[in-house]
């Protein structure tokens, strides 16, 4: 035997189970035996009918050991399964209402499980596609909720000498109706205003072109996501010379973010990033950066940071709090200790939290039920 014994055995069994040829073989084998037995009696001088009767009697119940042989060779489990399936199909055809109910329940159940997993995947499992996400932090309330800050506060944190972390600001997502005539005009365009160092701080690489530079606040420019590039600008093709038009202003595209990066807001991936500049801030509506100096203190930016190597989140928090205290003290000097704004600032506490998996306020709401799932 050339094949290993166990493999040969498996082959014999599989063949017997699936083809039924084995049963035919056994029947033939037993029939021949019976016939030879009969002939033997005839050759001993018995009349044919007596010989046949005697052979049959002696032969016994052929069906019984045919079955024994069958069991020996076939996989009962596979066969029984096939029988059960055939039975199930027959029953289902006889009772269509019951079948429809079962199928519908299963469909709903499977659909719900799939949907739930999609949420779990997006909110809890998938991280940001950035360099060293573990070093990302966000400025948050002491309960861990990401908070909004005025542009001035961001600038103060950015200006700290020997800072243990680099910080960038980002607005919440601004949704705009797409311009007619785009390749896919069914989906809204999601815009985020960011400080020019946002991509460096996030650790997001560019697929094409470049990230924002410090002087990009002077002329209108945009960075777009790879997904948006493909979806609405009709690619793959040349990204140079592309532009996006928002509120009548044409923004030349200087870069396309690496595939999979949609900003820090995991549940709301950004299509277009624009630098925070007087012209773009108007997109958020009037009053954000205009008016007297302290009026620009309207909080509208999330602040994210990238820890320098070897810095712990506690050290960075302490440093940021110190800077904040100095800033608040300056304001009190300027506005007076009894001003409502000074009082508000004094009460405000904050801490840095890890932003390794991005910003998903839905996460804390769903974390427990999804975790159970």
């Amino acid at each position: 035997m050339s094949l290993p014994a166990w493999l040969m055995r498996l082959w014999l069994r599989l063949r017997a189970t699936l083809s039924g040829a084995r049963d035919r073989d056994v029947r033939h084998e037993l029939a021949l035996h019976l016939q030879l037995l009969e002939e033997e009696y005839i050759s001993r001088g018995l009349p044919p009918n007596v010989a046949r009767a005697r052979a049959r009697r002696e032969f016994g119940n052929a069906a019984r050991f045919q079955e024994t042989s069958h069991d020996l060779f076939a996989f009962r489990v596979v066969e029984d399964l096939a029988h059960d399936l055939r039975y199930a199909v027959r029953e289902m055809r006889r009772r269509p209402a019951f079948t429809a109910t079962v199928v519908a329940s299963l469909a709903v159940g499977i659909g719900a499980a799939t949907a739930a997993f999609a949420i779990v995947d997006a909110l809890m499992l998938r991280g940001l596609t950035v360099r060293e996400p573990d070093r990302l932090v966000a400025f948050a309330s002491t309960e861990g909720r990401w908070t909004f800050w005025p542009h001035l506060a961001l600038q103060r944190w950015q200006d700290v000498p020997d800072t243990p972390l680099d910080v960038a600001g980002a607005s919440d997502v601004i949704t705009q109706k797409p311009r007619a005539g785009q390749a896919d005009s069914s989906k809204d365009v999601r815009i985020t205003l960011v400080s020019t160092n946002y991509f460096q701080v996030m650790g997001a690489e560019m697929e094409r072109g470049r990230a924002f530079a410090a002087d990009d606040v002077r002329a209108p420019v945009a960075v777009i996501s790879d997904e948006y590039w493909r979806r609405s600008l009709g690619v793959p093709g040349d990204a140079s010379g592309l532009s996006v038009e928002i509120d009548g202003i044409r923004y030349p595209v200087v870069g396309v973010a690496r595939r999979g990066f949609g900003g820090h807001a995991i549940a709301q991936p950004t299509d277009v990033w624009l630098p925070i500049a007087p012209a773009t801030v108007a997109l958020r509506g009037p009053g954000t950066l205009v008016g007297p100096r302290w009026a620009t203190a309207a909080p509208w930016l999330h602040v994210v940071g990238r820890l320098h190597a070897g810095v712990t989140i506690e050290q960075a928090t302490a440093s940021a709090q110190l800077t904040r205290q100095r800033f608040v003290a300056e304001k009190i000097v300027e506005l007076g200790v009894d001003s409502p704004e000074a009082a508000r600032d004094r009460r405000q506490t904050f801490a840095l939290v890890s932003a390794a998996t991005g910003h998903a306020p839905e996460r804390s709401r769903y974390a427990r039920p999804l975790g159970i799932l």
Partner: protein
Amino acid sequence: MLDMSVRDAEYSCQASMGRASQGELLQGTLPLLILRTLATGPNHGFAIARRIQQLSKSVLRVEQGSLYPALHRMELDGSIESYWGTTENNRKAKYYRLTRRGARELANETDRWKAIAGAIATILQEG
């Protein structure tokens, strides 16, 4: 004349207590006899049964209810293999022949059987 059935207890579902104890004594001997028969050349089931009967001078009679399950089990175990051939009367029949493994088993089992039979014979003589 003594007429003794060779039954392999493993295959004999309907064996009564008396026969089962007789079969137990002879358990494992049927495969050995089949191997011995096939050592002289390939053969089909009926001829194997007759040959055993003949070689034992009609002392041992193999029932087909034991023979075929034993053959099939041995085929599955790889000590014999089967092929379709024709009898001297030009009938299609399933032939069995020894594999290399079967030949090895025959040698080992023969030695073992002789040792056991010798030991039992010694004991019986002592008694």
